[in-house]
Subunit: 221 residues, 2 copies
DNA sequence: AAAAGACTAGCCCAAAAGTACTAGTTCTTT
DNA sequence: AAAGAACTAGTACTTTTGGGCTAGTCTTTT
């Protein structure tokens, strides 16, 4: 509070605070190793525990309530699902997702699940330290490649759908089935499926029910 | 306006106005016959045309813009669909649905489509005349049996859903599938289906997409 | 205590949804 | 003119949905 007018000092001070982290990864050695590395490079980072599965991670969070979790996205039990539960139960606990794939589509799922960061596992250690500090300060951190992806796909979501797509979606939201929609719009069922699939992907959803809910929220029905 | 304080006179006067009607039924003889009958019993009722299909009915309405339509619910092209289109394009044109089944579930669909009346075809002619006059005055007319149905089912819709049903519906609206919902709620997929089916029926809908949209409109998601 | 009504859940089946792959057409872009 | 992207559509296949039917358990009503 005293530092409100001195942000540069606040940062230094906060960085001086302890950052208690948990690493969730199904390779225990990786988890331990990264923990040690981080601590050696940034003494304020303290590894309070490691977890090898989603369930373990959740239990560990409930017990130790860390400041931050490094979570492998590919984990027994599902890293994204674990993230969802944790950030619901402990909104203050930040989650940074780590991934090998990088070009993964579940970036969006991860962010929606409440993650505060998204980094490739190949990230350099000093970058990782920087990311941890940034997230601890309340920022959201993504790797350049991921940021690119988000930016490239954002317009799709902002600009919205094509006319055909929108009117098709309206029919979906009315509960009509695909053959019916095809008849109404003068296209084959196959095309209805194709267009709907596009819509679902554009909106980063998974099925027609979610698309219908989206339309309903937009007030299209 | 002058008759605001003399409703009994207003009724007599309005009844004296012409009521231009269209009869939509795929039995031309029935349509003509009823038209004549009505006119003989109530001279102010004038049959301006008959239609044998939904498309014909819509065309005829666009051409002649009657005051009221007697529409058979079971018609080539769909009586309910025709009603929907007509009452969207010409909200002032009243539609009275006629049905043979009476115990039909699409009463609700018909009313939602914009019908102002719902009568069994077996109705007596004087009752039909009375119904036409009433609808023309702006009332909604249903046969006793249908009214009973509406009353019996209305509370369901007013009171809303049980807790289980509501939380299940929320999961549906999230786009989860039935096995998943079962796991989440600690019940079998079969039970999920049963409950969801109940919900869909209670809300007078037809499938999960519509139920999800309902939930979305209620702001549950 | 017996009957009626609810909740759960199984099995079976048909229809629909969703995915993958191929291919022809049209319309840009180069 | 050739290449490529976008759109339509067909076939084939798996999963999910939704409906019908039966049956056991549990609670409430009579």
């Amino acid at each position: 509070m005293r530092w409100d007018n001195f942000p540069e000092m606040a940062q230094a001070e906060i960085a001086g605070d302890e950052i208690r982290i948990v690493i969730a990864d199904d390779h225990p050695s990786y988890a331990r190793g990264v923990g040690l590395l981080l601590n050696s490079m940034a003494p304020e980072i303290e590894l309070v525990g490691t977890a090898g599965s989603a369930a373990e991670a959740i239990k560990l969070v409930e017990k130790s309530v860390p400041d931050l979790i490094l979570m492998d996205i590919q984990m027994p039990g599902g890293g994204i699902e674990a993230t969802r539960q944790i950030s619901e139960e402990f909104p203050a606990v930040k989650v940074v997702m780590l991934t090998v794939s990088e070009d993964d589509e579940d970036i969006f799922d991860a962010m929606k699940a409440g993650a505060s960061g998204f980094l490739p596992k190949q990230v350099e250690v000093d970058e990782l330290v920087a990311a941890i500090r940034a997230v601890h300060r309340g920022q959201v951190v993504v790797s350049p490649l991921v940021a690119d992806k988000l930016l490239r796909s954002a317009p799709d979501e902002r600009v919205g759908l094509l006319d055909v797509e929108r009117s098709l979606l309206k029919l979906v939201a009315e509960g009509r089935d695909n053959p019916d929609i095809g008849r109404e719009m003068g296209m084959s069922e196959a095309t209805v499926k194709r267009v709907l699939k596009n819509v679902v992907q554009k909106l980063h959803l998974h099925n027609r029910v979610q698309a219908a809910v989206y339309a309903a929220k937009k007030g299209w029905v």
